[in-house]
Amino acid sequence: MASYPPNGVDPNSNDRALPEAAQRVSLREWLRPTMSVAPRYASALISVAVALVLAQTLVSYGLPQRFGAFALAAIAATFWYGGTQPGIFAALMAWLVHGYLVEPQADAESRVLSGLVFPAFALVLILVMRARGEFVEVVGTTVERKPCEEALQESEAKARRLVDANIIGIFIWHIEGRIIEANDAFLRMVDYDREDLVSGRIHWTELTPPEWRSRDERRWLPELKATGRLQPFEKEYFRKDGSRVPVLIGAASFENGGNQGVVFVLDLTKRKRAEQALRESEAKFRDYAETASDWFWEIDPHHEFTLLTENAFGSDASSRIGTACWDHALDVETEPEKWRLVRATLDSRKPFRDFVYCCAGRDGAPMFVKASGKPVFDANGAFRGYRGTGTDVTAIVRAQEEHERLRELESQLAHMNRMSVMGELCALLAHEIAQPIATTRNNVRAAMNFLDRNPPDLDEVRDALACLLDDADRAGKIIEGLRRQIKKAPPRKDQFDLNDAIKEVIGLARPTIIKNGVAVHTRLMEGALFVEGDRVQVQQVALNLILNAIQAMSAVEAGERDLVISTERSQPDAVLVSVRDSGPGIDPKDVERVFETFYSTKSDGTGMGLSISRSIVAAHGGRLWADLDTDRGAVFRLTLPGSAEASSDSLTESGCNA
């Protein structure tokens, strides 16, 4: 690689000599820094040493001493490959070696004089090179020198074209900051025009933003000084308007430790923008992938997973590679028809959507997965398997199940409502059925009386008997109607968690709670609280008490409507439920009457609710009563016999403000 341009040539002028190497080597090679200093001086020493060894070898074979010739060759070679200073150094070394090693026996004067030939030779070489206008500093190994003027001009023109082609920005710098020359590409990059350049207003130091300046000074300038070149790196320049342009630059000084050099500059704006867009889109997709519960999967033609994104199935995605989805499914046996259809779809290589199945998820816990996929075919149309997405829909499925359960409960409560309506109906029926019985008695007695007459009044007796028939029919119809009403099974005897049952009731009453702006506080005993009985009936009682309490509180200010529902173990084998409201309370004289049938303080009350509730609780072997010893409002308490397995006695408190 040639060093370029020669010293003394004004870089601003267009007649700078260009190395012929430029025509064969790339720009990058052209700018590759030259050999460092130490090897060049080392080569001077080595060449002189080689000359000495060759000369001594000749002597040892009895041949005449030829150190002078060898040394001259060594000096010339050093000049050629190592440069001026190493060449001079080699000449001096040869002088010393000749004086002290080759001819040690000669007197000092002749030693010095005969050795002077080497420095003289070096001087001649310097003069010759100067005369050729070519001061060779460092010589690359591959360079062929074509010292003819024609070639020089040709290569110079080519280099000039490279600069003027403005494919990349190129400028020539001075270490102090001045930009001596720059091509249009560079000027465009930084938005300056040629006038700015000519008038010397552009300084690369000023173009460089402060944070880059310090890096320049700390790192790049020392490297440039040491090696004469800089590997391409990214930095920023200020444009004339103060905005920044990201660039990739590479630099070389014209000589080692030189004060001038050339820099090529690539505008990275577009690339940066593209990189930014790419980064953003990557981040976007990463965000999507991270936030979405969806995962991607691919299966091979044998339906075995070949790819699963990390979030697949919540965990252990990698362990599922090589298995089929039905290997993990938990509902293959329970829902064979569903799986048969899926297999048929896969076998027919049709796309499928929203296939929901249950599989073992994290720690083997059941997990519901919704999968969609489409078949994949290669360029030749061969089936390669399927790919698609999967989603964890466990929460949704669970919510649906919960919804179903609540619906069922709702229908049960609707039935309970019917039951309570039926309670009222029963009272009416009792009234109804009392009627035909009374009538029957009357008619029988009347008939007997008419028979006892003398003579018996048989017409009246006949009438009475006919009416008796009617009465019997009527009673039968009432009984039939009653039988139609009561179709549900007799009260059940189940073990159930009272806390759970009450929570459900609160959930059911929530619309009413919210509508009335009631704050509900639950103080339920921690853990399960098992009692025995008919869960639905007990819930009916609880619902009745809660709805009564809410209704009672309609008389007080909206902010003071507090409903406290608590459960506790009153005795080792009994559970106490309290429903306390902040309403106006119960008149002490009415505290027992509220449980009487048909007694109601409400305009639309049937007077049946508490009466039925009490009979339900009594049927469970418990007690329902109203307490007066509270500051305000009423508290209804009921006890139920609890089962033996008691849970811990600590309370869990929670409050919710509707």
Binding site: A438, E460, C467
Partner: protein
């Protein structure tokens, strides 16, 4: 026991029960008038002779208890026997307090009903007799001259003839003449009886008179 003049009034919206009660009462020789509604009853003319009312507590529209209150307010003290389908204690207490003869829960024993009716009729008969006596008294009192009335009232208040004479400024003998004439007119034989009669009349005078 049959009393040809006694009538039992049965009010019940249930036709078959109404008919059966009526039949039962007829079978023991009672006169029976049956009504389906209270308004039918109120629209009808009440028969002469002792009366007893048998009615259901629960009526669509107007309840038996309300009828009882209305009758009491109008001064017509009819003996009432209530029938009910439910054993409604508060209601029965209220009915009994307001003077009901009996409160029967269906299905009731016919003898209980008949006993209650006999009691009711007896009470009404006594009332009727009382009414007759009072009517006669009132008639007698009305036939007195103003002077005789004045003297009778003063006698009933326990004044002696001499005191009366000085009080109204006539001779003692004249007082005695007026008194004996008045006693004859009112068909009273002794002075204490006269006093009792006057007291009854004064009591009656405080109350609204049934036409």
């Amino acid at each position: 026991m049959p009393d040809a003049s006694a009538t039992v009034l049965v009010i019940d919206d249930d036709a078959s029960l109404r008919a059966s009660v009526a039949r039962l009462l007829r079978s023991v020789g009672l006169n029976v008038h049956a009504f389906a509604t209270i308004s039918d009853f109120l629209a009808a003319d009440l028969p002469d002779g002792p009366i007893c009312l048998v009615l259901d507590v629960r009526f669509p529209g107007q309840s038996g208890l309300e009828l009882q209150r209305e009758l009491a307010a109008s001064g017509r003290q009819l003996p009432i026997i209530f029938m009910t389908g439910h054993g409604d204690i508060p209601m029965s207490v209220q009915a009994m307090k307001s003077g009901a003869i009996e409160f029967l829960t269906k299905p009731f024993r016919d003898q209980d009903l008949l006993d209650a009716i006999q009691l009711g009729l007896a009470r009404d008969r006594a009332r009727l007799e009382n009414d007759t006596v009072l009517a006669a008294l009132r008639e007698g009192f009305r036939s007195l001259s103003p002077r005789e009335r004045e003297i009778v009232i003063l006698v009933a208040r326990g004044r002696l003839s001499k005191q009366i004479a000085s009080e109204i400024g006539i001779a003692e003998a004249t007082v005695k003449v007026h008194r004996s004439r008045a006693m004859r007119k009112m068909n009273v034989r002794s002075l204490p009886e006269l006093g009792r009669m006057v007291a009854l009349l004064e009591l009656m005078a405080d109350k609204p008179q049934r036409p």
